[in-house]
Amino acid sequence: MTPRWKFLFAGGLVFILLAALIFVPILRRRMKRAAKLQQQSEEQARRELTQPITINPGDPRVKTKLFWASDTIDSTLVPVTVDLPLSNDPVLRSKQVLNTLLAGPVDAELRTLPPDALLLAFYLLPDGTAIADFSEALATSIPSGIVSEQLAVNSITRTLEANVPQVQRLKILIHGQEMETLAGHLDLTGTFVVNTNPAQAHAKPAPTTPSTDNAAAPATDKTTAPTPAPGALTPDKAPGKLAQPQAKP
């Protein structure tokens, strides 16, 4: 290499170094801005997707029964009647009542579902099977235990039963996935009975729903023999059926 080439090479290196010194901070600033923008739009999209269904004031106001924890009897549910404008569309109506249930009662102590849990999606199949997809917080923020998980699921199924007669049974998904349990105890592989009185599917549900899940009224267990309890696995949907194809011998 001649000294002239050496000089040119060194000059080129210095030039590249200078260019890098000038452009790298600019590039970094732009990347930061882009990342922020993307984060914002993701956050915005998520919010739009999971936005609670807006209550349409034009809808007829209905006495809506929401099941939250009782403040007098330990670990039981009581219906709270709220006047809400509800859609006649069963899917919209289900979203409206479940979002109201998730929002919680005035007394936060009586919540049955974690405050950060969201309803991500709700579908209703023609056979009356509803699929509710909740955010991960439902599984991760709920106090672990049979009694607390049972109370959460029952508050959902009984609220649907009281307000949306079209829903016969409910499958619960967590962030789009089928889970084995809610938080280590309650079985989510099957579907839960919602309508405990299918013969009157389109009639207004009776005000006194059988409460076999009610810890305070075990005596009713024996009087409501033929109808499965809300929250029981339904006979026509085998546990795990949605997740696993039927095994062949």
Binding site: S144, S148, Q150, L186, A215, A225
Partner: protein
């Protein structure tokens, strides 16, 4: 073992994973396992046509201290871990049961976390056994205890007469309720504020267990001092042992003579 159980759990027809009735016998009619389970009448659930129920001897209690290993279960603010407490409770329950003449099998001895299917497999391998899973809740009135029986399961309609693994509890629901009501009755005498009869819940652990099976959940990890829970252990142990003894005459193996177990 885990692999074997996974294979067993994923197929629903291999003979190894069914308990009874034996191949070729009349399958229980749809609904037979589910219909009369509410009344707590012993053996009512197993009246399948043509199959005489066996008066079997109840010898074994399979104790399942829930959680363990990487899964601590419910955790209290005072550092209380469900997995540790249920293990020490199991020791106490074991002693009480052995005094009543039961042989006790535990699903875990130390800080391990067998899968739900592994734990059920431990119970399903025993003859003349009942299954008791022990839990501490995160909520509920401290100082109370609840017994749970599995919710009704889809009826078994397999033409081979075998019971799929994922519904192994179905033929035992009536017996489970009888056992649950006995244990809950003794618990209610000891721990005021507890329910009088067993509750129903879709407890994952119970579904794959082919034996009379109950979950006992004690409230709760929210107590300030672990000693408050430890003080409950003798009462819990005594209630489970007395409940299992009282259940002994009601224990009937659903199925036909010659069938497993």
């Amino acid at each position: 073992m885990a692999l074997l159980v996974a294979v067993m759990a994923s197929s629903s027809q291999t003979p190894t994973q069914t308990q009874q009735p034996a191949p070729g016998t009349t399958p229980p009619p749809p609904g037979a396992a589910a219909a009369p389970s509410q009344g707590g009448v012993a053996g009512s659930v197993v009246a399948s046509p043509g199959a005489s129920a066996q008066q079997g001897a109840l010898n074994v209690v399979v104790l399942d201290p829930a959680h363990g290993g990487t899964d601590p279960g419910a955790r209290g603010t005072g550092g209380i871990r469900e997995s540790e407490i249920v293990l020490s409770f199991a020791m106490e329950v074991r002693r009480a049961l052995e005094q009543q003449g039961f042989q006790v099998v535990q699903t875990r001895q130390g800080n391990e976390n067998p899968s739900f299917d592994d734990r059920s497999a431990t119970a399903n391998a025993q003859r003349g056994a009942v299954f008791v899973t022990l839990h501490i809740s995160s909520t509920g009135l401290p100082g109370t205890a609840r017994v749970y029986v599995n919710s009704e399961l889809p009826p078994v309609t397999d033409s081979s007469g075998m019971i799929p693994w994922d519904r192994a509890q179905a033929p035992f629901l009536g017996l489970s309720r009888t056992l649950g009501d006995f244990v809950q009755g003794f618990l209610a005498q000891r721990f005021k504020g507890s329910p009088e009869t067993a509750q129903t819940a879709s407890v994952r652990q119970l579904r794959t267990t082919a034996a009379p099976a109950i979950a006992v959940e004690i409230s709760s990890v929210t107590v300030e001092d672990r000693a408050e829970l430890d003080r409950m252990a003798p009462g819990i142990a005594d209630s489970i042992a007395r409940g299992a003894s009282a259940f002994r005459p009601s224990y009937v193996v659903p199925g036909t003579p010659g069938a497993l177990p």
